[in-house]
């Protein structure tokens, strides 16, 4: 640190980077702090506990309720089981998440940032550890400046140790969503885990450690793209954390029986709102991009106002429109329903509806037929024409099923199926295993005279023998060039 007084500085070339100023957020109690802990608790509880929930899926199937298994190529969510080709559900969830985020932002500003973002939640946790070991803001600042005494060394090391422990647990926790939680824990602890398991644990642990322990507000200010474009979701009716300058200014140090009281504002310039701010800014300078909307300065200011017996909410969660109204002495009213919120909300419900529809009408069976391209067709010794098809049946439920297969719309069509029907048949019975893809090689043949065109449209008909359900699959039959 360069401590030369400013006037002795030789002019410097301007730096591209701002010098990092360490922020020491002060502890504050209050309404929003409580809410934040509750939300953090819920998020962490989900993150750390959800993978341990069990869900019986029957013999040989994973019994973890929430599991995105890369090995099995399945995404399990309680009784839902998503196959790789249904990955659009994931797209749907992502779309849902972003529209939800837009709606929340349009209504209540940066609530995502202030209350639910992982960066915020884990930073809160890390700061809480720091606070409990090194003390509150002033103590921490002093400790950082102090020489390396035993006291400093043990506090700093203990903090690092706990941070690292939290990071490792967080890192490993991420794996549990992709691999069985119990098995992976045992693997990791007994030293028999794979490189991938240790590697990813180390990766997520180190990012947690760096981002929550050190980078903190720098992530929000410099790294995260979200603050850069969320301004597009705001309007003057969105709630934001704002300072009622019209009421607070001119600020002055609190003095009892101040004879000039009437002309002074409510702000007593105690700086508490700055001290508690996790990004180290002064909200009284107006709305700033660094503000993550955590509302801790609201708690801070309210605590002071209550002590002084002045009206609270000098720093408040309010909309710009309301603030303008209030400063003009008009009464403010909340406008939740606006064009923007209606648009986001209808989009949100549309996506939810679409996904719900998709899930409800989701077939548990999919057919995939590939007609041979080489050879396009085969001429048999008696002059008949034959086409080959690779027939795949995806049975997405864990119960074996039986189907009968026949061909329609192709005159004189008969089939042979490798391994099932050696001689020509009209229909064939196909047995399909549960929860798997079964492949059949099917040959369809007909006489040359039956073909009017080089390519005839025809279709396969699959009938579930148990339920009678019928599925058609359109395909084509190729013959010689006409």
């Amino acid at each position: 640190m360069d401590n030369t007084p400013a006037e002795h500085h030789v002019p410097k070339t301007p730096s591209l980077y701002e010098t990092h100023k360490k922020v020491y957020p002060q502890k504050i109690a209050g309404r929003f702090r409580n809410l934040k802990w509750k939300i953090s608790g819920a998020i962490m509880a989900f993150y750390f506990l959800a993978p341990w929930i069990r869900w019986d899926r029957g013999e040989g199937q994973p019994d973890q309720a929430i599991l995105a298994s890369m090995n099995l190529g399945r995404l399990y969510f309680f009784n839902i089981e998503i196959w790789p080709q249904e990955i659009y559900y994931l797209t749907g969830i992502l779309v849902l998440a972003s529209v939800g985020l837009f709606l929340a932002t349009a209504m209540a500003g940066r609530v995502w940032c202030g209350f639910t973002c992982w960066q915020t939640v884990w930073t809160d946790l890390f700061v809480w550890v720091e606070e409990n070991i090194e003390g509150d803001r002033n103590k921490r600042m002093r400790l950082d400046k102090a020489p390396w005494t035993f006291n400093k060394i043990w506090r700093k090391s203990l903090k690092q140790l706990i941070w690292i422990a939290f990071s490792l647990v967080t890192g490993a926790g991420f794996l549990f969503f992709f691999n069985d939680a119990f098995e992976t824990t045992i693997n990791l602890l007994t030293g028999v885990g794979t490189y991938a398991e240790y590697g990813f644990t180390a990766l997520f642990a180190s990012t947690t450690y760096l981002l929550a322990g050190f980078a903190r507000e720098q992530v929000c200010i410099y790294m995260c793209p979200w603050p850069r474009f969320q301004g597009a979701m705001f309007d003057e009716h969105s709630l934001i954390v704002t300072y009622e300058a019209w009421r607070g200014e001119p600020r002055s140090k609190a003095k009892k029986n101040n004879p000039n009281a009437p002309v002074l504002g409510d702000c007593v310039d105690c700086n508490l709102c700055v001290s508690v701010c996790p990004t180290g800014i002064d909200i009284r300078e107006g709305d700033q991009f660094q503000c993550i909307g955590c509302a801790l300065c609201v708690d801070a200011c309210n605590s002071i106002m209550t002590k002084l017996g002045r009206p609270g909410e000098l720093i408040t969660y309010d909309s710009i429109a309301n603030q303008v109204a209030r400063s003009n002495g008009k009464s403010a009213k909340k406008r939740v329903i606006r064009k923007r919120t209606i648009a986001y909300a209808s989009l949100l419900f549309a996506v939810i509806g679409l996904m719900a529809y998709g899930l409800i009408s989701r077939t548990e069976l999919e057919i995939n037929v590939q007609r041979d391209r080489s050879p396009m067709f085969v001429q048999l010794s008696n002059g008949d024409i034959r086409n080959g098809y690779t027939f795949k049946i995806l049975n997405m439920i864990n119960v074996p099923q039986t189907f009968t297969l026949s061909v329609e719309d192709l005159e004189g069509a008969q089939m042979t199926v490798i391994g099932l029907a050696k001689d020509l048949v009209d229909t064939v019975t196909l047995d399909v295993d549960g929860d798997s893809v079964t492949t059949f090689r099917i040959f369809v043949r007909t006489t040359k005279d039956a073909l009017d065109e080089q390519f005839e449209d025809m279709h396969f008909v699959l009938i579930n023998t148990a339920t009678g359900e019928r599925i058609d699959y359109d395909s084509r039959f190729a013959g010689p060039v006409r």
Binding site: V10, P11, S374, P375, Q379, G388, G419
Partner: protein, 287 residues
């Protein structure tokens, strides 16, 4: 260096170098950059010691870890063989007909056979046995030497006219070499065409039938049904190997062409031969 001069304007130290009154500013590399650089140097030195690196006069420095990419490849191949062992053992032990009865073995054979076929057989027989001019289609139901699993396996293993002792072998005489007259050849061709009702000259066909009985029946059969013992093609079907026109047939009778297929035993192992035979059998014509 006691008195380092500091540049007034930029506030940066100078190096003390001066050219024509122009002084050089001392702007060292960023510390993190340098350290990264040093670490890579240290890494490189360690690497050179541990791994094969420098050439020496007649060999090279082998590295203290004893690593070699050749050994790595061999281990990988051994691992592969080990992983395949449970399968290959069954394949080696069972006759091909038994393998084809086991659904799992069948699927394994088809998957492996597909690759083996594409690498070795497809250049002549076309992908998925679609055939090529003068190379037989393997997907149809017409077989020269037999189309059941064992017959296919024998053909693949020993080849056709491959000079292997067990190879399938036969030769159609060149009837054009002073053996039959031009008109006799023409007549017999006409008769051959009559098997598929494409003959237009009934008289010639009739004359040809006598020649056919004399010269051809032994291999191609009385009704032209072919003879698999000699790889003699069926003459009464729609599959023509060297062409179905009158000219084509005359040409083949006068100076026959014969296909050759290598004995794959020399190039593929037993398991691969069984796999590829099962695959060929599955292409559509297997009997």
């Amino acid at each position: 260096m006691a008195n380092i001069e500091r540049d007034e304007v930029s506030g940066t130290d100078t190096t003390g170098h001066e050219w024509d009154g122009i002084k050089e500013l001392n702007t060292p590399m960023p510390r993190w950059w340098l350290w990264t650089f040093y670490v890579t140097i240290a890494w490189a030195i360690g690497y050179m010691i541990l791994y094969p690196s420098w050439p020496t006069l007649n060999t090279y420095w082998k590295g203290t870890l004893g690593y070699s990419s050749r050994v790595e490849l061999n281990t990988a191949l051994q691992d592969r063989d080990k992983a395949r062992a449970p399968w290959t053992k069954k394949f080696a032990a069972l006759p091909i007909t038994e393998i084809a009865k086991d659904r799992q073995l069948l699927e394994y054979a088809m998957a492996g056979g597909k690759v083996i076929f594409a690498d070795n057989c497809a250049p002549c027989h076309g992908s998925q046995g679609s055939g090529a001019p003068t190379y037989p289609v393997l997907a149809d139901d017409d077989w020269l030497w037999g189309g059941n699993l064992e017959e296919i396996e024998t053909t693949v293993r020993y080849g056709i006219r491959s000079n292997h002792d067990e190879a399938r072998d036969s030769e159609m005489p060149a009837f054009g070499d002073d053996y039959l007259s031009v008109s006799q050849i023409s007549d017999v061709s006409e008769y051959v065409m009559s098997f598929t009702n494409t003959s237009k000259d009934a008289d010639a066909a009739k004359r040809g039938s006598e020649v056919f009985v004399e010269e051809c029946v032994a291999c191609h059969g009385e009704t032209g049904q072919g003879g698999r013992d000699f790889g003699a093609p069926k003459l009464s079907d729609n599959v023509w190997f060297y062409g179905s026109t009158r000219e084509d047939i005359i040409k083949q009778v006068s100076k026959p062409r014969h296909g050759v297929m290598p004995a794959w035993q020399a190039r593929l192992d037993d398991v691969s031969i069984k796999q590829v035979s099962i695959y060929v059998h599955s292409l559509g014509g297997g009997e």
